[in-house]
């Protein structure tokens, strides 16, 4: 395969810039080295230390992000693209980050009784509590007698 230098305004008459092969090979080397780095790091002994485990997580994810950025910028050509393209690419991954805000739901579940979440059994398979139609203050008076439905275990 001939190693071409960069050809500007190449003979086909269009105005796109053709990158040298070396750029792609260099990006591949970077990616491969990062991959070998993560694999070797995973062999480091972590044991039961929470800090070491956390640090390993962060390291592995950071290297994964670096690899992703290399692929996106160089292989996918986003570095050389128009601002509009860059924005589309950025927004996709920005969304991904924002989605993790919904983690707050799960992390705050321990603040309130959530039998389905804590026990791991789906909530609709758990026995239901007593049915009380007028819990606490109600805005409207109870105009007619609301019959209590029979509960599953007769409570």
């Amino acid at each position: 395969m001939s190693m071409n230098a960069a050809t500007h305004e190449s003979h086909n008459g269009s105005s796109h810039h053709v990158h040298p092969q070396s750029m792609y090979f260099k990006a591949f080397i970077v990616l491969f080295v990062l991959m070998v780095g993560t694999v070797l790091a995973s062999y480091l002994p972590v044991g039961d230390s929470a800090i070491a485990s956390f640090a390993m997580n962060v390291l592995a994810l950071t290297i994964a992000c670096l690899k992703a950025i290399t692929v996106i910028l160089y292989f996918m050509g986003v570095k050389f693209s128009t601002r509009l393209t860059q924005m589309y690419a950025a927004c996709g991954f920005l969304w991904f980050t924002l989605m993790f805000i919904t983690f707050c739901d799960y992390m705050t579940r321990s603040w309130e009784p959530t039998p389905g979440w804590e026990s791991g059994i789906p909530a609709n398979a758990l026995p239901r509590g007593p049915y009380l139609p007028n819990q606490g203050e109600t805005m409207l008076p109870n105009l007619r007698e609301v019959p209590t439905p029979p509960t599953r275990d007769g409570r």
């Binding site: 395969m1 071409n4 050809t7 190449s10 086909n12 008459g13 269009s14 105005s15 796109h16 053709v18 990158h19 092969q21 792609y24 090979f25 990006a27 591949f28 990616l31 491969f32 991959m35 993560t38 694999v39 790091a41 995973s42 062999y43 480091l44 972590v46 485990s53 390993m56 997580n57 592995a60 994810l61 290297i63 994964a64 690899k67 992703a68 692929v71 996106i72 160089y74 292989f75 996918m76 050509g77 693209s81 128009t82 509009l84 393209t85 589309y88 690419a89 927004c91 996709g92 991954f93 969304w95 991904f96 989605m99 993790f100 919904t102 983690f103 799960y106 791991g120």
Partner: protein
């Protein structure tokens, strides 16, 4: 090559530029932005699964750490290298398309296809190893698992529900990724046939090749994240 003069501008648009575009640059940009829109939807597709994985990994951390050891790191690393190389191959094929060098394009696309097939073969071996041990999707899930209990005694403490959760995520995500690889193989195959037959759609304009390349890089990107999350992190 035949060219149509753009009205009232005096400069000439190449034949493959459609009438609604001012010039080739604008057409290229719209095609690339269109492809990126699709890739953003794919980010959402996989993103939700990654979130699911993150959630249950956070919730059942200790169990997931033990379950992760059942996966083969070496096979995962080989798969990653294969996909990284296939990304390089497709990028060089796109470069060949920019230079209108048919042989270069076909050569590098062949390399990409071979890498893709290698990836699927390795994944086949990984999965069948699990299936033979009784780690399957469905009611015949064998837990506690005698095959793996020998290697990893800590598995005895992992409840079946957590193991099933882990494996539904593992098979779900790697399976979905494998489906994307298969689709990629088909699409690259079609592209190769078009190049081989000198179809003007791909020989005059490098953008279709570039769009297929973008899809393939995305497939590689997903694997770049899947690999550390499932195979590497807990250690």
């Amino acid at each position: 090559m035949a060219s149509i003069p753009a009205q009232g501008h005096g400069n000439v648009k190449p034949a493959h530029v459609h009438t609604q575009f001012e010039n080739e640059e604008q057409q290229n940009e719209s095609y690339i932005v269109g492809m990126w829109s699709f890739l953003v939807t794919e980010v959402m597709f996989f993103g939700a699964l990654f979130f699911s994985y993150a959630l249950y990994r956070w919730k059942y951390q200790a169990d997931f750490y033990v379950l992760h050891e059942m996966l083969d790191r070496v096979m995962g690393a080989v798969n990653t290298s294969v996909l990284l190389f296939s990304s390089l191959a497709v990028a060089l094929a796109v470069r060949g398309a920019q230079l209108k060098k048919k042989k270069t394009v076909l050569a590098w696309l062949t390399v990409t296809q071979l890498c893709a097939v290698t990836f699927l073969v390795i994944k086949y071996f990984e999965w069948t190893k699990k299936f033979k041990a009784g780690i399957v999707l469905g009611p015949s899930f064998v837990w506690p698992n005698p095959t793996y209990l020998e290697e990893i005694p800590a598995l005895a403490k992992v409840p079946e529900g957590h193991a099933q959760l882990f494996y539904s995520l593992y098979f779900g995500m790697t399976g979905l990724h494998a489906i994307h690889v298969i689709v990629g193989i088909i699409v690259i195959g079609v592209l190769m046939i078009m190049w081989w037959k000198n179809n003007r759609l791909v020989t005059e304009d490098y953008i279709p090749t570039e769009m297929v390349g973008l899809y393939w890089h995305f497939v590689d990107l997903v694997w770049i994240f899947l690999f550390p999350l499932f195979y590497l992190i807990p250690r």
